[in-house]
């Protein structure tokens, strides 16, 4: 049944409205279905009786709707229903100077974050390799640590094995590193409107610290073996390198205007009237706006 088919009648006063006629076939069919099931736990006779009711119910139902649905005409009696409120005045919430009603007018596009993520991903390779060379005399040590995170049976590996070259671990490390840098960059881009004036601060300090804190607190649960091999000091250095590189790339990009012309409250979804500026293009056509003519619409 479509909206139009249902409502087209739009009965005037003194007329009738077509509604589906009451029918006993649904209850008969439902009872039949129940008895059919009950037959399994009682006696076959009850199941058979249920089957008979099902057939009867289906035939009766079909005859009700085919070839035309049975309807009844319900007379309409027009009563006046008054739509009114005792609360006539509308109070507008007031905001003091200490309350934050700030929205950036300009911000960086999200693609800046992605570009920053890619740049940061390359930049952080340097401190990671330095870490490998200084602590284990091997550039493969940090690579294998990252690759090891994606290998399920990595728990009994020795330090010498981690410091040596493995094709499969390298491939896994590249995949993890690439995807993570892209996603973190994307996240960075999405978060930029929070601190649009200081992308380097956000990317170079806040985000690395938050990310490191999250990993530090959860890595012991997710992968204890990997957790035991990570040097968190060097980890922070590489994250900061990532963030600074990403921040610099973003800072060099052009800003774009946000949809700041929209009222703040509309952007955060607040619906309270009086808080937002008017939208003269919304609402009913002039002829249908509230007034004597509008009353007849409901």
């Amino acid at each position: 049944m479509t909206e139009m088919a249902h409502h087209k009648a739009g009965a005037e006063h003194g007329e009738t409205i077509h509604l589906p006629a009451p029918t006993h076939w649904p209850i008969i069919l439902a009872f039949g279905c129940t008895l059919l099931a009950a037959g399994l736990v009682t006696t076959p006779g009850i199941g058979i009786f249920g089957g008979v009711l099902i057939v009867t119910g289906c035939v009766g139902w079909f005859r009700q709707v085919l070839p035309h649905e049975a309807h009844e005409d319900v007379p309409v009696r027009a009563d006046k229903v008054v739509i009114e409120t005792s609360r006539r005045s509308v109070e507008r919430l007031q905001f003091g100077p200490d309350q934050r009603v700030h929205l950036p007018v300009e911000t960086y596009p999200i693609r800046s974050g992605i570009k920053g993520g890619i740049a940061g991903g390359f930049a952080m390779i340097l401190p990671a390799i330095l870490y490998g060379l200084i602590t284990q005399h091997s550039i493969w040590y940090p690579v294998n640590l990252l690759g090891g995170a994606g290998v399920a049976n990595w728990s009994h590996v020795t330090t010498a094995e981690i410091a040596s070259f493995h094709w499969s671990w390298l491939m896994i490390a590249i995949v993890i590193h690439g995807i993570t840098c892209l996603l973190v960059g994307l996240l960075y881009g999405a978060m930029l409107p929070i601190l649009p004036r200081h992308p380097v601060l956000l990317g170079g300090l806040l985000a690395p610290l938050l990310w490191t804190g999250l990993l530090h607190s959860s890595m012991g649960v997710i992968n204890p073996a990997l957790d035991a091999h990570i040097s968190w000091g060097w980890f922070v250095v590489s994250q900061v390198t990532f963030g600074v590189a990403a921040g610099l790339v973003v800072a060099r990009d052009n800003r774009i205007r946000t949809s700041g012309r929209l009222p703040f409250f509309a952007r955060i979804g607040l619906e309270a009237p009086g808080l937002m500026e008017s939208n003269p293009h919304a609402g009913p056509p002039a002829a249908e706006r509230p007034g004597p003519g509008h009353q007849e619409k409901h």
């Binding site: 049944m1 479509t2 909206e3 249902h6 409502h7 739009g10 009965a11 006063h13 409205i17 509604l19 589906p20 009451p22 029918t23 076939w25 649904p26 209850i27 009872f31 279905c33 129940t34 099931a37 009950a38 399994l40 736990v41 009682t42 009700q64 319900v74 007379p75 309409v76 009696r77 027009a78 009563d79 006046k80 229903v81 008054v82 739509i83 009114e84 409120t85 509308v90 649960v221 997710i222 929209l262 509309a266 979804g269 607040l270 619906e271 009237p273 500026e277 008017s278 939208n279 919304a282 609402g283 009913p284 249908e288 706006r289 509230p290 509008h294 009353q295 007849e296 619409k297 409901h298």
Partner: protein, 564 residues
């Protein structure tokens, strides 16, 4: 200045004089053959309230049994049947039907339609649900079990395999459980299809998706979830029936079947089911909080997104019920994280309700009292849910009363509270009478008191190691005093519910006239007479904003000026 008048019809009521008994029969016949969504909604709600009393009585029996150590008020067999029937009844015969009852009654009214999309299917769905419940309870008489006498199912509401196999559950009690739920499950599916079709195709002019009341949005999400989740349950029950009648081995572990498969089938239904129950409670909250705070809902788009988000995420968390069965570390990690993820959209909702109340002119009428308690209690339930989502924590406490406390905080503290809120809010619309506010306050405060005495204490007895579904316990465990407190809380809740029932009946005959819009609300159902005529609206409503009645009441400052 506000006297906007609407030509909305009353009813025609020229009834010839008849005898009292024939009038009663005619009245009954009218209800039996009805396809009117409002009457079916009332039938759903009445049916559920009756079963709420039944399940409540079962709970009281359970609590008497557990009030003292070494108690033998019930036999072990009866105890097993009662907690099985209590759980099954509350979830399948109270929770779902009552919420679908509200959807039936309100969705067409809220979207400006005259009925559901498929009125006959609507009637069929209700009667299937109703007969399914009656079939389940007939098991007390007809469910011949081990002792050759009538007995009810005794396999708990989740009916784990292989307990449900013939070898361990002889007789028919388990068959009654499976068959009754299959029957009522088809009824639920029919209603879900109907709500989706109605919402998508029968909205009045101007009611775009983003102007729909949040109640309707949430019912749409719930119905979609129902279609996805009832199906595996019905399939599993069909397999169980095949096992028991045709010698199948789906869940027969002695013949190569898998008990874990049943657990997966059940919980892929069972966990989204919790959201199917709680989302309508959110829906009720979304309507009541703004009206009684005298402010528009805060963050409508975010509320819609969070509801849809909960619907999606809830489909991927089922195995957190199975941490104690044993999962791989990858499985544990996935389900821990996915379960925690649900906290984000639900958190958004809690913050938005608080933001709606913030700065508002709050009126603590009975619906708002229950709705406010809901927020607090649902927050606690969510926090204990996050605790249980952590697998090692769950290993310790899953099979204890801590979990029962968490679960009841959701089902009672959130859902039942908002069901009461909804009844106080919409009863005047459905009957034309206000519920007595003084009795309502007694109901609220006693119920809050009883609820917290019972379920707060239950957390502690769980911490002390009391297992769930235990028949009795020894005095030296130290659980006795706390269990007594829990049971006393249960009795206080029972008294509160009896006051509520008395209020329902008393106010129907003696209640104050409600008028059309007793709460000064903003959605379309309040523009109809109370109770609404069979056709709902004499002429098609046209809406221009999310609060059409606000626009009429405040023509100088309508919402459509601010909604883009």
């Amino acid at each position: 200045m506000a006297d906007q008048t609407l030509p909305i019809a009353g009813t025609l009521g020229v009834t010839p004089q008849r005898s009292r008994s024939s009038r009663l029969l005619a009245w009954l016949h009218e209800w039996v053959i009805t396809v009117d969504h409002k009457k079916l909604g009332i039938l759903y709600i009445s049916y559920s309230l009756i079963f709420l009393l039944v399940a409540g009585a079962e709970a009281i029996c359970i609590r008497i049994q557990l009030a003292m150590p070494n108690n033998h008020f019930l036999s072990p067999e009866v105890f097993n049947r009662l907690f099985t029937m209590h759980g099954t009844t509350m979830v399948f015969l109270v929770g779902m039907p009552i919420l679908f009852g509200f959807a039936n009654y309100l969705v067409p009214l809220m979207i400006g339609a005259r009925d559901m999309a498929f009125p006959r299917l609507n009637a069929f769905s209700f009667w299937l649900t109703a007969f399914g419940g009656l079939l389940l309870y007939y098991s007390f008489l007809g469910g011949f079990g081990l002792y050759g006498m009538g007995n009810a199912p005794d396999v708990a509401w989740f009916a784990y395999a292989p307990l449900t196999e013939k070898a361990f559950s002889p007789g028919h009690s388990t068959d009654y459980w499976a068959l009754a739920l299959i029957v009522s499950g088809f009824g639920t599916l029919g209603t879900a299809i109907n709500i989706i079709a109605t919402t998508l195709s029968m909205r009045c002019r101007g009611m775009t998706l983003l102007r729909m009341p949040l109640f309707v949005w949430l019912m749409l999400v719930v119905s979609a979830m129902t279609l996805v989740t009832i199906t595996p349950l019905t399939a599993a029950q069909a397999m169980l029936v095949i096992d028991r009648y045709l010698g199948g081995h789906f869940f027969d572990t002695q013949a190569g079947g898998s008990a874990v498969a049943w657990a997966h089938f059940f919980w892929i239904f069972g966990h989204p089911e919790v959201y199917i129950l709680v989302l309508p409670a959110f829906a009720i909250e979304n309507e009541i909080v703004p009206v009684f705070s005298r402010k528009g809902i805060f963050g409508y788009p975010a509320m819609v997104a969070a509801s849809v988000g909960i619907g999606f995420v809830s489909m991927g968390v089922w195995a957190h019920h199975m941490f104690t069965i044993g999962l791989t570390s990858v499985g544990n990690t996935f389900f821990v994280l996915s379960t925690m993820l649900v906290g984000i959209p639900t958190g958004i909702k809690i913050f938005n309700w608080l933001a709606t109340m913030w700065g508002g002119r709050i009126r603590f009428a009975s619906p708002m009292l229950f709705a406010t308690a809901f927020i607090f209690q649902f927050l606690i339930a969510g926090l204990t849910g996050i605790m249980l989502s952590v697998a090692p924590w769950d290993w310790q406490l899953h099979n204890s009363y801590f979990l029962i406390a968490h679960f009841h905080y959701v089902l009672v503290g959130a859902i039942v509270f908002n069901v009461f809120a909804a009844i106080y809010y919409w009863y005047p619309k459905a009957t034309g009478r206000m519920l007595d506010e003084k009795l309502a306050k007694w109901h609220f405060w006693l119920f809050v008191l009883g609820f917290h005495i019972t379920f707060d204490t239950m957390h502690f007895v769980g911490f002390m190691g009391m297992p769930r579904q235990i028949y009795t316990y020894l005095p030296d465990r130290g659980w006795g005093p706390l269990n007594l407190v829990i049971s006393i809380g249960g009795f206080i809740q029972a008294i509160a519910v009896l006051i509520f029932v008395y209020n329902l009946v008393h106010s129907y005959f003696r209640g104050k006239e409600a008028g059309n819009d007793p709460w000064d609300a903003w959605t379309l159902e309040w523009s109809t007479p109370s109770p609404p005529p069979v056709y709902n609206f004499a002429t098609d409503p046209v809406v221009y904003s999310r609060r059409p009645l606000w626009d009429l009441k405040h023509p100088e400052d309508p919402d459509w000026k601010y909604e883009s």
